[in-house]
Amino acid sequence: MTGIVTLNPVSPEAAAISHLFVAILIILGGIFLLVTVLVLYAIARYRDRPGAPEAKQVFGSRRLEIAWTVAPVLLLTLIGVFMIRAIEASDPPIEDRKPDLRVVGHQWWWEIAYPKSGAVTANEIHIPVGKSLLVEVDSADVIHDFWVPELGRKIDAIPGHVNYVWISADRPGVYQGVCAEFCGAEHTWMRMIVVAEGEGDFDAWQRAQLATPAMPSDGEAARGLTILKDQTCLNCHAISGLAGNQTVGPDLSHIASRRILAAGAVANSPENLFRWLKNPASIKPESHMPNFQLSDEKVRALVAYMETLK
């Protein structure tokens, strides 16, 4: 994620906004220059100097008043026309389409589901390049906001008020998304990434997400699985093949396949996962993930198990 993302669109919807933005920046910049030049000229030209004559007592001009009322009205009408055209283009109607993706905001992570295939993940959305997917945006607790600037508009995730938004990408890449509505202590670390990839890669990814992870039968990973079952991990997290569908915390079925941890606070690596399990607050101080006070050895085993969850 680099540069001025709001002017660097990667989808038709974002492009509609970006083009509008450029046009409006030019218009507004013009007005700004006009006012500034007028003011600067006036203060330079009419500055009080010794011996300057008394100012002429002018009270106003009806003609000028009408001019600077009508001119802005016309300009705003123009902007209004641009706006009306861009609204539909940047946020097309959903018609009768069923959502392809369901995104639920939690304090402080994103639950992602693909209702049509049944795949479930967190904080990392995969989409096929060049296809528009309809996203259903909801919240499990407070108000969040789903925003991937390069791919289009932001939209609030409000409990009790389901929203829909299209998402698509013209070219492959990893796009940064973030919660844009203040949602509490760790609002900062409620990021996500959107991975746009070719149809084949996307299908492969989705198949992998749907697979039930294998149970390790020996070694450190197996110990890790036992620890995971002994602790209360599964009260909040789901792992397919192990336990139900808790959504208090992210689904862990394929956590090792993801690129970020703790909703973007750190990259997903065994070392970071170790730090996270050892003491979540060292990475994300106010996270709802408790510190289980596990020994290093136990944490290592857990990490070993979770690294198998590709």
């Binding site: 994620m1 680099t2 540069g3 709001t6 002017l7 974002a14 509609a16 906004i17 970006s18 509008l20 409006i24 700004f32 003011v39 006036a42 009419y46 500055r47 009080d48 300057a52 100012a55 007592q57 002018v58 009270f59 106003g60 001009s61 000028l64 008043e65 600077w68 802005p72 009205v73 705003l76 902007i79 706006m83 861009a86 609204i87 539909e88 940047s90 407070v142 108000i143 906001d145 508009r153 932001k154 939209i155 409000i158 409990p159 009790g160 008020h161 929203n163 829909y164 973030v178 919660c179 844009a180 509505e181 203040f182 509490g184 202590a185 760790e186 609002h187 900062t188 973007g264 106010e286």
Partner: protein, 553 residues
């Protein structure tokens, strides 16, 4: 003029009291006005301190000077403080001090109510700050969006203190607004018809009406939120059938008029300062006056532009986008009239005028970025980013605070009898101007780069740290500017040049009395036959033609 009002102007002065008591027990509008200003200054210090901690935390990525929760308390308090405990009371202070003088009155319409307004407002502010020692300050933002502000998600009592503090400020301001409106309508000196009101008084009156209609909206919202927090009700909790969106409608139904409550007094100050230092009457008086009413009126029909991201439907967004653009028209009329006032003037570059002229340009930036938020799809992209932070600070700092400084440099001689030092004032102006633009100009870019608001840190991406660092340096430049300002006040109070009655060759009635004015304000109010009584007095052969602008060139 009714008999009652006339009687009030010659009413005997309250018995003299000594020392601190003479202030605490005062019902004199001048003393109350100064107390408003002082309380505003103290809270400005607190709100500024909060801002500095915020900016220090954000100077580099991954900083951990404060915990995330503390950070949230800081920005919640910063916003609430600057809006409710700085801009509103300071504007109230300037108004309370200047307005009766400007219309030739002995005091405001209800002096005791005036004192009550101040003390309730101050009490509200103290209550709000008491939260810091009572378990934690509010941490749900100055907007307290439900359900985040509900007990289920906000564990400390901060939001409850926020509600009670705001209720205090709201009730105090409401009483103040009623007082000011009645003062303008009933206590004008004979000869000062409403058409002849100085624009400061006119805009203050319009603003009072705006407050009378806007403040009950927040009070109703606060009452309902309080029911949720204290009675376990569920008005704003969707999990139990309530509506989170309803809170937003209520809050912004007040919140947007509130923006104009903060900016109209700035317009009022600028409309006095610019003409005086240009040596000319305000250009297009009637148009500035009428556009004020139009702004006040429209400010109630634009609130949903704060909610474009909520997903209320394109039609809804479209209508509010258009109404929001429409409000730019009367605002533009004002900008053009102030600029036209500069033309062919004889411009004296006092510190006050420097702030006033830069107000025009800074507020134009804020106004124009505001137009970009009226354009619905741009709002979808830019809202809740640093672009918005930049926008609102250009309106409220580059707008309201610049105007406040212009007003203080303008009226300080009247209040204290001494001139503020112009040389130090020059330093103050330039450090403020540079510091302000350093802090906030780059934030436009940060927003366009995708940095959301209200984050306590950010990823280490190219340019993010550079721009944030520039912003932080700007914030500390502003700290320097405030210190220079305080130093100026201290020096000038002791050793400033004596002001005399009318140091600026100004025209409104407050300059016809001594500086500072006596307890009864005027020994003799000069006759008022136009909008610039002291001009008419000085140039009897060239007195203003009242209807000059209305009748054409």
């Amino acid at each position: 003029m009714s008999d009652i009002a006339a009687a009030d102007r010659i009413a005997p002065v309250e018995a003299e009291r000594e020392g601190l008591l003479s202030w605490v027990a005062s019902v004199d509008h001048k003393q109350i006005g100064i107390m408003y200003l002082l309380s505003g200054l103290v809270f400005f210090g607190l709100g500024g301190l909060e801002a500095l901690i915020i900016r220090t935390q954000l100077a580099i990525p991954g900083n951990s000077i404060v915990t995330p929760d503390t950070f949230n308390q800081l920005f919640s308090m910063h916003g609430t403080t600057m809006i409710f405990l700085v801009i509103m009371p300071v504007m109230a202070g300037i108004t309370t001090y200047v307005l009766p003088l400007m219309i030739g009155a002995r005091d405001v319409a209800f002096p005791r109510l005036n004192a009550l307004s101040f003390w309730i407002q101050l009490f509200g502010g103290i209550l709000l700050y008491f939260s810091f020692v009572a378990g934690g300050a509010p941490n749900a933002g100055w907007f307290s969006y439900a359900p985040l502000s509900e007990p289920a998600y906000s564990f400390n009592n901060g939001v409850t203190y926020w509600i009670l503090g705001l209720a205090g400020v709201g009730i105090g301001s409401l009483a103040g607004a009623i007082n000011m409106a009645v003062t303008v309508l009933k206590l004008r000196v004979p000869g000062m018809t409403i058409r002849r009101l100085p624009l400061f008084a006119w805009i203050t009156m319009v603003n009072s009406f705006l407050m009378i209609f806007a403040l009950p909206v927040i009070n109703a919202a606060l009452v309902l939120l309080l029911a949720d927090r204290l009675l376990n009700a569920h008005i704003f909790t969707p999990a139990f059938g309530g509506s989170a969106v309803l809170w937003q409608h209520y809050f912004w139904g007040f919140g947007h008029p509130e923006v104009y409550i903060m900016i109209l007094p700035a317009f009022a100050i600028i409309s006095e300062v610019i003409p005086v230092f240009s040596g000319k009457p305000i250009y297009g008086y009637e148009f500035v006056a009428a556009s004020t009413v139009a702004i006040a009126f429209m400010s109630f029909a634009v609130w949903a532009h704060h909610m474009f991201a909520v997903g209320l439907g394109h039609l809804f967004d479209l209508f509010f986008g258009i109404s929001t653009m429409a409000i730019a028209v009367p605002t533009g009329i004002k900008i053009f009239n102030w600029t036209a006032t500069l033309y062919q003037g004889r411009i004296r570059f006092t510190t006050s005028m420097k702030f006033a002229v830069s107000f025009i340009v800074m507020f134009t930036i804020g106004g124009l970025s505001g137009v970009s938020f009226a354009v619905v799809p741009l709002d979808w992209q830019l809202t809740d980013t640093y672009y918005l932070v930049a926008h609102l600070h250009y309106v409220l700092f580059g707008g309201s605070i610049f105007a406040i400084f212009a007003g203080i440099y303008y009226w300080f001689p009247k209040m204290s009898g001494r001139m503020l030092d112009e040389r130090i004032g020059n330093w103050h102006f330039w450090t403020t101007f540079i510091g302000f633009n350093l802090t906030f100009l780059v934030q436009h870019l940060l927003g366009m780069m995708g940095m959301p608001r209200r984050v306590f840190t950010y990823p280490d991406w190219p340019w993010w740290m550079t721009l944030n660092m520039i912003s932080t340096i700007g914030a500390f430049t502003l700290l320097a500017s405030v210190i220079i300002f305080l130093w100026n006040i201290r020096i000038s109070l002791g050793a400033g040049a004596p002001a005399g009655d009318n140091p600026w060759d100004a025209w409104t009635l407050e300059w016809a009395t001594t500086s500072p004015p006596p307890a009864e304000n005027f020994a003799l109010v000069p006759p008022v036959r136009g909008r610039r009584p002291l001009w008419d007095l000085a140039h009897p052969d060239r007195a203003d033609e009242l209807v000059a602008a209305a009748s054409g060139e």
